[in-house]
């Protein structure tokens, strides 16, 4: 009796898998290994990749570990993806160094690798589809400058001083102010780890220390939302400019507490990976980097379908 039940269950599960699993042999297969899959940002990347796969007539899969800490699980995913003898591979490394042996294997098997989001510290990927954070932060600087009349004191809250995105967003903002807006003075740059509360304390201290402060740039979701909390608690009127998207940030923009923010284009990142992979398979030459674009959004354009599509909670 037991055996029959087990057998029935096994057949059931098997049928389920068979129905979902088999790939058509004539399509090129391109697995994407991302840094995550549950977060809205990654779901948007996946949606873009699926859209491009349909257009290009290729088959893709999209996988990522449950948290961005699970470096070893991502390596297992990469290893399983390579075992499937894919035609090309998309990869957003959690830790580039840990993935090098497998990427070398892909290279030796002539599987083109397309990096995305943060890139990979190696020359194996043919191209990297990512946001040009320097240019995006420069746009944030221009918007902030325009809102404060192109003169006065501003401050910056960054998530950290070591990650690529932290460094690029800080430098992009600072350089734009220095070269294009000489009457604006950056009085302080602080790091809050992307933590809401810590960034809020930093913002309040900045406002205390610099009574003439006119604006703050928060370089990621946590920094921007934290700055908004700090400004609200201090009771002062300041121009806030943020980065990325999020429920609170969207509400702050709607309520007028925040002027607006830069959003990346995760859908565009997903599309770029698949399109670049297809180009590589056709033997076309690829640029070293592809800027997948970014958008400025504020109260006026948040409900624009093009913008709404790249915003997430």
């Amino acid at each position: 009796m037991l055996n029959r039940k087990l057998l029935a269950a096994a057949i059931g599960v098997g049928a389920l898998l068979a129905a979902t699993g088999f790939a058509r042999a004539d399509e090129a297969y391109i697995p994407l290994i991302s840094k995550g899959f549950q977060h809205q940002f990654w779901q948007a990347v996946k949606a873009g990749a699926e859209q491009a796969a349909k257009e290009q007539n290729v088959k893709i899969t999209f996988e990522g570990p449950e948290t961005e800490a699970m470096v070893d699980k991502q390596i297992d995913m990469l290893s399983a993806a390579l075992a499937k003898k894919p035609n090309a591979l998309g990869f957003a490394a959690l830790d580039s160094k840990a993935a090098i042996p497998l990427l070398k294997k892909a290279q030796s098997e002539k599987i083109p690798v397309i990096a995305f989001d943060s890139g990979v510290d190696s020359d194996i990927p043919l191209t990297t589809c990512a946001t040009d954070n320097l240019a995006a932060a420069a746009l944030a600087a221009d918007k902030l400058a325009a809102a404060i009349g192109d003169s006065g004191e501003v401050a910056v809250i960054v998530h950290d001083q070591t990650s690529r995105t932290g460094i690029d967003r800080r430098d992009g903002f600072v350089n734009e102010i220095k070269t294009k807006h000489p009457k604006i003075k950056i009085v302080d740059i602080q790091y809050g780890g992307g933590d809401h509360l810590k960034s809020a304390e930093i913002a309040k201290t900045m406002i205390q220390a610099h009574p003439n402060l006119k604006g703050i740039f928060g370089a990621n979701e946590g920094s921007a939302e934290g700055a908004a909390i700090g400004v609200k608690e201090s009771g002062k009127k300041l121009v806030l400019v943020g980065y990325d998207s999020g429920k609170e940030q969207k509400e702050d923009i709607n309520s007028g507490l925040m002027l607006g923010a830069i959003t990346q284009n995760p859908v565009g990142i997903g599309k770029c990976v698949v399109e670049s992979a297809v180009k590589a398979l056709k033997g076309e030459k690829l640029p070293k980097k592809v800027d997948t674009g970014f958008y400025w959004y504020d109260k006026s354009n948040m409900s624009d379908p093009k913008i709404a599509a790249v915003l997430y909670d």
Binding site: L17, G21, F37, V71, K84, K97, G193
Partner: protein
């Protein structure tokens, strides 16, 4: 005198208990093993890529760390306890190893000893909280889980510690001693260590006093206590042993990634517990085998890999894994009812 005879009776009961359980346990092993073969056959038919040597090596590699953690959990679960801290303890030992090797430039052997010793000490602390302070295992090890996770982040300043200065550190996991003898099957050392540890664990569990008391505590702790045995001491020793085994897992994962990743670890305890339970060890304690646990760990990793190879959507992979765990444990319950 009566104490002594009670202890003898208990000892007799324990070995009798083992003999009594051996039949069904063997059946359980067979059942779990049959499921594993069935899975292998199914995925083998479904995808030609699945049974290729590279993929099999990939599965073995993916099982090593989870399997070692599952061995650690088996000891604790047989006592009727639970250890939720195995994942973050693994990470903590990896970070400590990084401190010794990368921060302090000590020789590799010192780092290896430090990782295992740290694991043993932390496990013993959990055991002490449970045995001496009477904190329930679930809560004591939940506390340890969070405490160790925080300490790993503090010590490493939230950043991975790379082992670039210790040239041969990667070899612990990634080199292949078997490959020197049989170049066509370069089974990574991590897998060799898993199997050696499984054999050693089985011997400890079935042939030593520690193993006997592990079973005895799980089937009737009060009887063991009444027979004059120092229950607390054995309990601390068992949690300590589990911790030391987590230290081995810490070395394996650090060597594989060539870095100690401080934020990693949470969630691994549940995979370890799932492997133990699929392998036929009862969560209520008193019975279980290391072999079953190893088979359980392989069922988990074969399933994960096979579903990936078949390109099943990730959301459905999680659903299927959940179903298989429930199915495996239900089969076990049906078998017990019959036995």
């Amino acid at each position: 005198m009566t104490m002594r005879s009670a202890a003898l009776a208990e000892g007799g009961r324990v070995s009798g208990f083992r003999a009594r359980v051996f039949g069904p346990t063997a059946l359980q092993k067979l059942l779990a093993f049959a499921s594993l073969i069935l899975l292998l056959a199914f995925f083998g038919f479904a995808s030609p890529a699945f049974l290729e040597i590279d993929n099999i090596l990939g599965i073995l590699q993916a099982t090593a760390v989870d399997g070692v953690l599952a061995i650690a959990s088996t000891f604790v679960i047989i006592t009727g306890g639970i250890d939720l801290s195995v994942g973050t303890l693994m990470t903590f030992t990896a970070v400590i190893c990084g401190v010794f090797l990368t921060y302090w430039h000590m020789p590799m052997a010192v780092g290896v000893v430090a990782a295992i010793a740290t694991g043993g000490i932390c496990g013993s602390i959990s055991g002490t909280l449970i045995a001496k302070m009477r904190i329930p295992p679930f809560i004591a090890t939940l506390g340890m889980m969070m405490l160790l996770k925080g300490l790993s982040l503090v010590i490493s300043a939230d950043k991975p510690i790379y082992f670039n200065d210790t040239e041969n550190f990667y070899m612990i996991s990634q080199d292949s001693l078997i490959g020197y003898v049989l170049p066509s099957v370069p089974v990574p050392n991590a897998v060799l260590i898993l199997f050696l540890l499984a054999i050693a664990g089985s011997i400890v569990l079935n042939r030593t006093a520690l193993g006997r008391y592990t079973f005895a505590l799980g089937s009737n702790e009060e009887a063991v206590r009444l027979s004059g045995v120092n229950v607390d001491r054995w309990k601390i020793a068992i949690y300590g042993l589990g911790g030391a085994i987590c230290g081995v897992a810490g070395l394996l994962i650090a060597s594989r990634l060539n870095s100690a990743q401080p934020a990693l670890g949470q969630g691994y305890e549940l995979e370890a517990i799932a492997a133990v339970v699929i392998g036929g060890t009862s969560l209520s304690g008193g019975s279980g085998t290391i072999l079953g646990t190893i088979i359980g760990a392989f069922i988990m990793s074969v399933l994960t890999n096979g579903l990936r190879i078949m390109s099943v959507a990730q959301e459905w992979q999680i659903v299927v894994t959940g179903l298989i765990i429930i199915l495996a444990v239900y089969a076990d319950i049906l078998r017990r009812k019959k036995a």
